[in-house]
Symmetry: C2
Subunit: 441 residues, 2 copies
């Protein structure tokens, strides 16, 4: 028997992991490489950032998920380069891993549109560490507001600005509203957490720009009820320790004083995505996404598949597909099936076709907006659909019953077991929130 087909998957996110699982019974030697030892259920990351869930509750160790898949090996490593002619990828420590077929699913990173200095004051929400950094900033802000006596300074601690009113920004703003109005209600003696101002900013004329307009309006109404203010048509021109400066289309500038700014705007491709485009001279879009052909392979390299956020994909009308879990999962599974077909000597599959099941954004307790198979839902029905769908997906990695009960308690009791101020920076700031000029420093 000849050596088995060597398949290498880069990245253990939705794209890579679903590709790996789809190759479970294929006669291949599979290697999944990731820098982190876990798969992250990113759609719930905002719940870690707001202290509703612990990191362990939305992550699953890759080895654990794939332990029974005997044709698969997990490798903890950082991919830095590729030689598409030699068919090898290179790891940071110098190791070279050969492949017969490669699935690249290294995803995206947050982008500050060239203003990387803003990162210091407005952390993004991409990784588990980002989420705990934001959780720390939010909790320390309430602590500092409780201790300062100057009303101006207090208001700065109680003002939270979220830049970017896509699904992540909307969900963050809603969760912050819940915290301020319900969860922390009785916790302080000098402040009323419900005095918190939550401001959601976007340069677009409306929030949730990719959603149907009626759902965007419902989302804005629901946010308003939670005390969050939506301010669209505003471009951020500066972020620093004192707050955010924004510019309206009319040209008027305005400064919003705040100690807590969160960045939920802007996406760029991963570092390895840039290297891949360079080595293969692949066409890309403005953000660096690789324009793959119908089979999701890099033009001229039929053995290199690109899936998930790194791929520039369009629907049948030529409209770009969003960088969401659904697209990553479907494109990852497609690449896996194409490779499995090749091992059987079958002809190339039909081109990739995205089956859009809809969009969902949760706003608060029992409140969400959903576009499911063209059906527009809001309020409790949308929230219920959201809960159901997320439970169905997350149970592949965790116990369905456990998560269900945990969430039940969370929603019924405004639980805050995960509201911990931890980490080195945490203990430093926590020693004197009163004098902490730069949160998170």
């Amino acid at each position: 028997m000849a050596d088995r087909h060597r398949v290498v998957i880069l990245g253990g996110g939705f794209g890579g992991l679903y590709a790996a699982k789809a190759l479970k019974n294929a006669p291949v030697d599979l290697t999944l490489i990731d820098r982190r030892n876990f798969h992250l259920f990113q759609p719930l990351l905002y719940q870690v950032a707001t202290g509703s869930l612990s990191p362990g509750e939305i992550a699953a160790p890759l080895r654990a998920v794939l332990s029974k898949q005997r044709n698969t090996r997990v490798l903890l490593g950082h991919v830095t380069d590729i030689d598409p002619q030699e068919k090898t990828i290179c790891l940071e420590d110098g190791e070279r891993v050969p492949y017969d077929a490669l699935i690249v699913s290294t995803g995206s990173e947050s982008s500050y549109f060239g203003n990387d200095a803003w990162h210091t004051w407005a952390p993004p929400l991409k990784t588990v560490e980002d989420a705990t950094t934001i959780r720390h900033k939010i909790l320390i802000a309430f602590e500092a507001a409780e201790r300062v006596t100057d009303p101006v300074e207090r208001q700065k601690w109680l003002t939270f600005v979220i830049v970017g009113a896509g699904p992540t920004g909307v969900e963050l703003a809603g969760a912050l509203g819940e915290i301020a109005h319900h969860t922390l209600e009785d916790d302080f003696r000098s402040i009323h957490p419900s005095d918190a101002k939550i401001i959601l900013i976007d340069a677009a004329p409306s929030l949730l720009a990719s959603y149907p307009p009626d759902l965007a309006r419902h989302a804005a109404d629901s946010l308003k009820k939670l005390g969050a203010e939506v301010r669209t048509g505003l471009m951020v021109t500066n972020v620093d320790g004192g707050g955010v400066t924004v510019k309206a289309s009319s040209g008027t500038q305005q400064h919003i004083a705040s100690h807590t700014v969160i960045w939920a705007a802007g996406v760029a491709v991963s570092e390895f995505g840039k290297v891949l485009a360079q080595r293969t001279r692949a066409p890309t879009d403005k953000a660096g996404r690789i324009k793959v052909d119908g089979q999701l392979t890099v033009p001229g390299f039929p053995d290199i598949f690109v899936v998930g956020d790194l791929a520039y994909l369009t629907d049948e009308h030529g409209k770009q597909l969003p960088g969401v879990a659904q697209v990553a999962m479907q494109s990852g599974a497609y690449a896996a099936k194409a490779i499995a077909a090749r091992t059987r000597g079958e002809a190339p599959s039909t081109p990739f076709h995205y089956f859009n099941k809809g969009d969902l954004a949760v706003i608060g307790r029992f409140s969400a907006v959903a576009n499911v198979f063209g059906l527009h839902l809001h309020g409790f029905p949308a929230w219920f659909v959201w809960l159901f769908i997320h439970l169905m997906y997350i149970v592949e990695f965790q116990s369905r019953l456990l998560v269900l009960i945990q969430w039940g308690f969370l929603y019924l009791t405004y639980n805050r077991g995960a509201m911990l101020i931890t980490g080195t920076t945490a203990s430093q700031s926590a020693q004197s929130p009163k004098t902490a000029a730069a949160p998170g420093q």
Copy 2:
């Protein structure tokens, strides 16, 4: 009506928190001060260190626990000094907080017996951050063992040394044995995690020195079954990146090569404990514990109570009480009652008397040793008692049902949802476990 009695509690551990809760209905103005915003259920910290539980599952935000207690204010701050004549304590940021009665429950820290440099190579297990550091070291060790090809180096990554065979060391060794033999069983392709060597070292002639000898023997047997080796009568003379050097009472030295050393020995009082002893000229024992009088107050200062690990307490036979949660809770509650009695103008209470309910150490799945009301149990019965007692205590902060179900799953499925390699150091090391000479650096 005169101003209410101002009670200040320093520390939100078992001593401070139980004192605060006991003063719930007393006519006092209560301020609880802690550097951290959460109470930590320290007896389960080893389960965070071994990836069975997430930090959020064994911690409860102090504000949440005390939110309905309207006479109580929580203050996030770092106490640095005390003026016992003026009756004020000082915070790091300069704020001075006056008190009519003070309960000091600032606890203990780990001690390296003057060899603080060992801390770099052998982290202690006192804080949530310590626990995640150890979790990171353990998981990275298995990852590195999977990737190295040199058998000597591989064995160094698969050797785990725990210094200190008290309850913490025993529970850590047991949990590590469970991980190696069961949890990670199918996760690797180049190594067998059950090849891991777990070595538990103590200078004393036996493990669990404070337990009855028959239970200590049972514990040693149970550890052996999990592949952990107990080596007593050995004094640690050096710790560095290459391992541990030990000396037998005969004088023979020996080197144990290991990349993963954990420090579960040695306790010293908190920094503020030293300051308090200095300012009040209180008598202390060798470790710095304050020798309080029968009412748990500092001699000459009837308004300053010392409870928990910081107090030197003895039973009716003059035997020193151990630094465990039970002692802290009972002494904290005693101080609270004494203060409440004073506000009613009642005479001083009878001296503090510790009611010893027994000792418990869990070794593995369904395996523990327990000394409950003089009854010696081991194996499943001891484990069941342990589970029951811990559940009863932890439910004051979390949902009983949730924890019960969570633990049920944990024990039945060898769950490892919390096995995440996170943090800045984590992502650095994770990039190249192969070349990581110094784990956790």
